[in-house]
């Protein structure tokens, strides 16, 4: 068991009428930005009428709005992983991530130890993968998180990493047959670690990205091992995207216009309950 406060093991034991010593927990506080993410979308009246008149089986306005929402969702995911809104020296190629002041800080920087950032001393677990396979590396990080007092239950990784893990464990029925539906329609594999089951959630696309490892100088991609009960995607205004309709013709143009927006930020309440495996990018 791990206690949040220091002091030697067994230090709370006192004699029958001994004086009780008082202690106070010291808390590290960290603020996180809530980013405003927005995209304007519009289709001219002519295009809407022409598509309908031509009989093509799609609605251009609905397509624009749907695509706009996918862009926002991608950007939220990008900031969750690579976001850097606080460290102006960050680059896409280093652990801090590309600096965009209006975004929010993501897991790459929060679980890293980049000197000069607000997270350099937060003691998240960082393990470079060398001779261990990915399965062993993930379990190692999970056991360290458990040592720190966390209950790791979720692994987020790119598709290349997930495919490599599937290859490693493809002949193990305890892996291939051990799946769970994390949200409706999304079924994932699970692996047993020292402190319980870990859901392996693969993330398609380039939002996790790659960077140069500060320790080995290799180009690596992160595999995040998380205690999902200590991580929140915080929001303002509404928990989903809001679609704002702009009155047609207000700027004297004949088109339907919309603004799609959302406000989100990432809270990692206990960085010591999180960790990463740096895997050489393939």
């Amino acid at each position: 068991m791990t206690a949040p406060d220091g002091g030697s093991l067994g230090g709370s034991a006192i004699s029958e009428l001994g004086t009780v010593s008082y202690q106070q927990t010291s808390l590290d506080r960290q603020t996180a930005n809530i980013a405003v993410l927005a995209t304007g979308r519009g289709v001219s009246f002519k295009e809407q009428a022409a598509v309908a008149a031509g009989g093509a089986p799609y609605n251009p306005l609905a397509t624009e709005l749907a695509n706009g929402m996918v862009v926002l969702a991608r950007d939220v995911q990008y900031f969750m992983f690579q976001g850097d809104s606080t460290y102006s020296s960050g680059l896409a190629t280093n652990e801090a991530g590309n600096y965009l002041v209006n975004g929010f800080d993501g897991l790459r920087m929060i679980t890293g130890a980049v000197s000069g950032t607000a997270y350099s001393g937060n003691n998240a677990i960082q393990a470079d993968q060398g001779t261990l396979n990915q399965h062993q590396s993930i379990k190692f990080v999970a056991s360290k998180i458990a040592d720190n007092g966390g209950f790791p239950d979720l692994v987020l990784e790119g598709m290349n990493s997930k495919e490599a893990l599937d290859t490693e464990l493809g002949d193990k029925r305890w892996y291939t047959d051990n799946t769970t539906e994390v949200i409706a329609g999304v079924t994932v594999n699970r692996i047993q670690a020292a402190a319980g089951l870990l859901d392996i959630l693969p993330v398609p696309g380039t939002t996790i990205g790659t960077y140069t490892s500060p320790t080995t100088s290799q180009t690596v991609e992160d595999i995040y091992v998380l205690d999902s009960k200590k991580i929140w995607l915080r929001w303002l205004y509404a928990d989903n995207f809001t679609v704002l309709e702009i009155p047609s013709g207000v700027d004297s143009q004949l088109s339907s216009r919309y603004i799609v927006f959302g406000m989100y930020g990432l809270e990692v309440a206990a960085p010591v309950f999180t960790g990463k495996v740096r895997r050489i990018a393939s």
Binding site: G6, S26, D28, S89, N94, A113, V114, S115, G116, S120, G121, N123, I125, Q126, A127, D128, Q129, G130, T131, L132, S137, F140, V141, K144, P214, T215, T216, S217, Q218, I280
Partner: protein, 172 residues
Amino acid sequence: MSSKYPKGGANRPSLVLERQAPMSQATIEKTKEEVKAPQFEDDDYCTVIHRNWNAFDQRTRQPLIRADQETYLDRITFVGGVARNVPYEIAKKWVKIGLISKEHIFANNAQAEDFAKATGREAMTTQTLAGAIASLSPEKATAILGEEAAKEFAKSLLRLISTREKAQENAE
């Protein structure tokens, strides 16, 4: 050009026999490595440093690995980029994968000066030291220095700062 040997003389040494084949650059490098690299058996324990031990980010001049930073390579703990008691068998595999070079493997009792010599980086510059101190949390600094020493250090820092501030006020 004159020669100290008479032309066609009996004492003239055979140039063909005396000349040695020049060493290729690759051979020279290999020889250097052989001379420098300590010899280990697989079951020896050694000290390994990370490639970026005591290296700085070129743009920000911040250390890539803090002096008190704990990271892992496989199951081995590195503190400030240095791992002790690493089985050579494992270190050898890291070299093979390209995570470290042969020059980053040392005898188990090697010290910062040895790492500095091998990497060409200073063991501890003032900048590194300042960076390391700045990155320490009060809890960690107290744990390293001990309560009394930490108190004394904090007091002397405050004394120095307040003396300087007073001097500045007086000057104004």
